[in-house]
Amino acid sequence: MAEIVADVPQRATTRSRLRGVTALLGTVPFFAYVTIFLVIPTLVVVIGAFAGSGGVTLENVKALGSSYILEAFGRSIALSLLSALIGAVLGALLAYALVTAKPDGILRRVVTAAAGVLAQFGGVTLAFAFLATIGLSGFLTVWLRDTFDVDIFSGGVWLFELPGLTLVYTYFQIPLMVIVFLPALDGIRPQWREATESLGGTTWQYWTRVAGPLLAPAFLGSFLLLFANSFSAYATAAALVSQGSPLIPLQIRGALTSEVLLGQQNVGKAMALGMVVVVSVVMALYTLLQKRTSKWLG
């Protein structure tokens, strides 16, 4: 009797395990597909970064220390920091302007919808939009020259360099900031301001002692997201910059397309790995700050 009792659950588990296996079969197409087109490419980058002609090597990673790659990383990070900072500040101001408007008003709905669309705007079309605006024969350039006799490029053509790229990147950073920062601002309750005032606090004290500290993690988190966003952008820069490879994504393009230098391919993989590391660290910090934010402004 005891034997049978012991036997039944075991048989049941075997059967459910069998059912589990057949159930797993249903996910085979998905996993196969993702393995081929996502997991293998990721592994190619990770393994390739440490692979040389004669097996495992640190040469590729060491090559990251060479001056031209370090400079490209530096410029990429500077561009991302600057465009994320400008985007975060202006986007936060715009988001605050929306919060002070009627919550279900037409203004807020239109601007958030537009921000959702503009945050996606990037790549070649964005580059051409700016070429048409402030390119050498662009609308604004020509208009300013003809009407006010002002040459915006009198100090050299800055559109294809860091200042120009920062300006162009700001165009998709501000809307992105509005989208990610608006929920945090919505979490600020009017009662907190009233409480500050009834305790005799001034507007300055409210912003520096109450709202500021509450919003700081959300602001910082959004800033990091914006940083990752512009750090991984490629198409806009590729369409604007045709001379040289000032940024790390453009260096990777160079390593991919140049077949001249043998072994350069794997340096490209090391640079790609470097990018993934930067983005992962930033995104991990972002998730951490997101948790901190949801404590108060959930």
């Binding site: 996910t27 197409p29 996502l38 790549g123 079309t125 605006t133 990752a228 966003n229 991919l256």
Partner: protein, 281 residues
């Protein structure tokens, strides 16, 4: 007190309009410039909407447009075929795998497209070997690219309905799994499927990185190529492509808005185009 509040409201209104006007000019200016720039040559716009003339004068552009439209349609289709049955199946039978599926689907967000290309290059050497170098093969990579957005949309749609009860009810009435999928689950997540498809189409129409580095063509590659010879035409095409993407995404957010106000369940809100990275890049 009332005076303070009125003064603050006035100040806030002034602040609001200053910010909106300054940033509004910044955001609208490129569009005005594109219209002005593309009308400098009066033959540009008529040529763009005259397909035979376009394909004769700008064969690369016509090829790019066709390629992009086909890629967008096929990517949306492949994404749905791959994702919807898997997501439903995992919810019904393998709830423990959900975290893994979610992780894999969101993984492309932390891998920039330019990095993905580096890893895809050897994979595509095999794709070219088996299927040839057609631009349509890019659909495989694009399906991965749209995975995070599509997954979020479809997962939100599935969370809003009780898949398990629906499936059990249908099964107990003698429906096959195919019937459950096609006639029970799918109609219930229609708007989620629609927004996933819209997002995929919008992302594919703006894709440049992978196409250009894998030496294939699409709309963006063609625009970039055209920019070197005919700037007016490339700006006109850019503007058209942009407006098309705008209409798609605005439709999507309207769809989301209607759902939000109409029903108690907020399915499309999470699927709204909240990018965590620049997908068009």
């Amino acid at each position: 007190m009332a005076g303070v509040i009125a003064r603050r409201a006035r100040r806030q209104r002034a602040f609001r309009w200053t910010v909106l006007i300054v940033l509004g000019v910044f955001f609208v200016l490129p569009f005005i410039a594109m219209i002005e720039f593309s009308t400098r040559d009066s033959t540009t716009w008529p040529a763009l909407f005259n397909w035979p003339e376009l394909s004769e004068r700008y064969p690369a552009l016509a090829e790019g447009i066709t390629a992009s439209l086909l890629q967008a349609a096929l990517t949306a289709l492949l994404m749905l075929v791959l994702l919807v049955p898997t997501a439903v199946w995992v919810r019904l039978r393998l709830p423990r795998l959900r975290r893994l599926i979610e992780f894999l689907c969101l993984l492309p967000l932390t891998i920039p497209a330019i990095v993905l290309v580096v890893g895809l290059a050897p994979v595509y050497a095999w794709v070219t070997y088996f299927l040839g170098g057609s631009s349509l093969t890019l659909v495989f990579a694009y399906t991965i690219l749209v995975l995070p957005y599509a997954y979020r949309a479809i997962d939100a749609g599935l969370s809003a309905i009780d898949v398990k009860t629906l499936a059990e009810a249908a099964r107990s009435l003698g429906a096959s799994w195919a019937t459950v999928m096609w006639r029970v689950v799918l109609p219930n997540i229609r708007s989620a499927v629609l927004s996933a498809a819209f997002l995929s189409v919008a992302l594919v129409l703006g894709e440049f990185t992978i196409a250009s580095l894998l030496n294939r063509t699409n709309l963006q590659v063609a625009i970039n190529f055209l920019g070197k010879s005919s700037a007016t035409m490339s700006v006109a095409v850019s503007l058209t492509a942009l407006l098309l993407a705008f209409v798609l995404l605005l439709l999507l957010s309207l769809l989301g808005g209607r759902r939000r106000s109409g029903s108690t369940v907020d399915t499309v809100a999470t699927a709204a185009p909240v990018a965590t990275k620049e997908p068009a890049a």
